[in-house]
């Protein structure tokens, strides 16, 4: 407001300059002020997870200031990390995510290469189809998929429902289309001369892919890997539908179904579990933020 009045009262050029820089300073101050507000809004839940995870059950049920820990204790962490059940959830999650990431990369990188470089009959349609599949949400497919796997079990005698490895078949439907899509974008941005040169030299398509495309598009590959990992780690609906026995659960479902017993919420342990469950994606994000963001923005800006 005050800058406005200065702006009007100063007819000379010099004063105008002054007001512009003062405008900038004020804009900067307001930016910091609002950014701080939004950062508080963003970080309140994770901060509160941390606070609660350090509290004992007596302190949680006492009516003290919830935003502060008076007697910090690690008992929640000790209890969870020594509980076989929780470690089982963690391993299930880790195995599922690692295998799904590997399978996703093995399927989507060659496919993206073929779609980006080897124009063949229907390749453009297929690329569009891949993108459309990415838009089909999990909440549309979980019921038919559940029934499909149940029928498959009845027909063949191979029981997949309520086994953690059923998720290995299902998660790729979430990860492969997006990873293929962003890899098509990265591959398409590699200059044609590079692979033409390789083919003239007698390199096979496979060699062109492994020796040229994968090294050059490595940032894209890392971004796609991160995406596949975070999606499989965070997936909640499919494991909730497909797995019920406690030894087959993955982390998000495990925490919710075993730590909430009826109406009894063991909040200290729930928050500790949630924090430990959020840790792997957060750690990856902390170290590979630029790749993470590249993958996030690539989906819409590439292709």
């Amino acid at each position: 407001m005050s800058t406005m009045t200065i702006d009007k009262s100063g007819p000379t050029r010099k004063v105008k300059y002054g007001s512009m820089s003062r405008d900038r300073t004020w804009a900067l101050r307001w930016s910091y002020f609002f950014l701080t507000l939004f950062a508080i809004f963003s970080l309140t839940p994770p901060f509160y997870m941390l606070i609660t995870s350090l509290k004992g059950s007596a302190e949680i049920s006492a009516a003290t200031n919830p935003w502060w820990v008076h007697q910090p204790t690690l008992e929640n962490y000790v209890q969870l990390l020594t509980s076989n059940q929780f470690l089982r959830f963690f391993w299930n999650s880790a195995w599922v995510s690692i295998i799904v990431v590997t399978v996703t990369m093995l399927i989507s990188v060659p496919a993206a290469f073929a779609l980006a470089r080897m124009k063949f009959w229907g390749s453009a349609t297929l690329a569009t189809g891949v993108f459309l599949t990415y838009l089909i949400p999990d909440s549309l497919l979980f019921i038919p998929l559940f029934k499909m796997f149940a029928v498959f079990g009845d027909l063949t005698g191979i029981q997949l429902v309520n086994r953690w490895y059923v998720l290995l078949f299902i998660y790729p439907t979430l990860t492969v289309p997006f990873c293929t899509w962003i890899m098509i974008g990265y591959f398409a941005s590699i200059p044609k001369e590079l692979d033409e040169a390789a083919i003239i030299d007698g390199a096979s398509w496979f060699q062109t892919l492994t020796r040229i495309f994968i090294p050059v598009a490595l940032p894209g590959l890392i971004a796609a890997t991160i995406f596949a990992f975070t999606v499989s780690w965070a997936q909640f609906l499919y494991p909730l539908v497909f797995t019920t026995s406690t030894d087959q659960l993955v982390l998000p479902v495990g925490i919710i179904t075993t730590l909430i017993k009826g109406d009894v919420f063991n909040w200290g342990q729930i928050m500790t579990g949630a924090l430990l469950g959020a840790a792997p994606p957060l750690i990856i994000y902390a170290f590979l933020m630029d790749y993470y963001i590249a993958g996030l923005t690539a989906g819409a800006t590439k292709g």
Binding site: Y48, L141, I200
Partner: protein, 312 residues
């Protein structure tokens, strides 16, 4: 890369005829190897995406025991139920208001981050993206605890201002507000990142030209920023509309559809009737109602992408 360049020079010196044979062989092998390379992808999409999608249409026409064909019986049954119309209404309220607030907050925050000196942007961006990184099932648990009826940390804080206690998940209106709030918290950082990337691609000269013409901040946004970002805004909003409309985790964990079905959306209600109520055909019919809206959004996204593909 150096290696390749070197080898291509060597080949250039070799006979032209041999080169042509090599190319022809490569072309002959091309379609076969391309097919083999895309085969796993095609199989995956055909068996685990397209087939289930069609199968769910088939399922929706069966009776509860899945022994008899009932045609549109499940849909007729749904149309007569008040809960169904409640779910339709809530899904639309939830998706539309959440997307609008996510887009608005994302747009505003992106501007603030863009205003800050470049060397500090990384730090702020890093902090503001945290909600998007945490698995939504995990962060919703934290919100559930923040909203806890007896130990709510929010109500504790608000009581100092003489407000409350607010029944965050107990009252229908507040529960709707809460699920939207959590969704906005989770999704706004995505918009922020997309808009920030778009803001950085707007040429600085345009703002200088606008400033010389005497444009105020509002005119700069309206006539320079928004037209330049139109594509990104459209595509991000449509993406988010699909994801939000199909959302499951947040509503399921925060309210499980309660109180009295007043926060159910399509995905959670389909889960409730289809999996928990073991009426798979009815659940399939419920989730099929998401298709029209998803299809419309998908068509618009696709149009935008092919348009940009043609331009480039």
């Amino acid at each position: 890369m150096v290696d390749v360049a070197f080898q291509s020079n060597r080949t250039a010196a070799a006979q032209a005829g041999r080169r042509r044979v090599g190319l022809r062989n490569a072309l002959r092998r091309k379609s076969m190897s391309a097919f083999l390379m895309t085969l796993p992808l095609i199989l995956l999409i055909a068996i685990l995406v397209i087939y289930p999608a069609l199968y769910s249409v088939h399922l929706a026409t069966l009776n509860k025991a899945m022994t008899k064909f009932v045609g549109f019986g499940n849909f007729e049954f749904l149309f007569k139920r008040d809960t169904f119309w409640l779910v339709v209404k809530q899904s639309c309220i939830f998706a539309i208001s959440a997307v609008i607030f996510k887009a608005l907050i994302g747009f505003i925050v992106a501007h603030f981050v863009h205003n800050v000196p470049a060397n500090k942007q990384r730090k702020w961006r890093g902090m503001l993206l945290v909600p998007w990184v945490i698995p939504p099932a995990m962060s919703t648990l934290a919100w559930l605890w923040l909203f806890d009826p007896s130990y709510s940390a929010f109500n504790y804080t608000l009581s100092f201002f003489g407000i409350g206690p607010i029944p965050w998940t107990g009252d229908a209106m507040w529960a709707r507000f809460s699920v939207i709030l959590v969704n906005v918290w989770y999704g706004a950082p995505f918009f922020m990142i997309m808009y920030l990337a778009a803001l950085k691609s707007v040429p600085e000269q345009l703002y200088e030209a606008a400033a010389i013409d005497g444009a105020n901040w509002w005119q700069r946004i309206w006539y320079v920023t928004l037209p330049m970002m139109r594509n990104i805004i459209a595509i991000t909003t449509l993406f988010s509309l699909i994801v939000t409309f199909a959302n499951f985790d947040i509503v399921r964990i925060l309210t499980a559809g309660g109180p009295l079905d007043h926060t159910h959306i399509f995905a959670t209600w389909a889960f409730r009737v289809g999996i928990e109520g073991s009426d798979i055909p009815l659940g399939a019919s419920v989730s099929l109602f998401m298709v029209p809206i998803l299809a419309v959004a998908a068509i618009f996204i696709l149009r935008d992408i092919t348009k940009r593909g043609n331009e480039s």
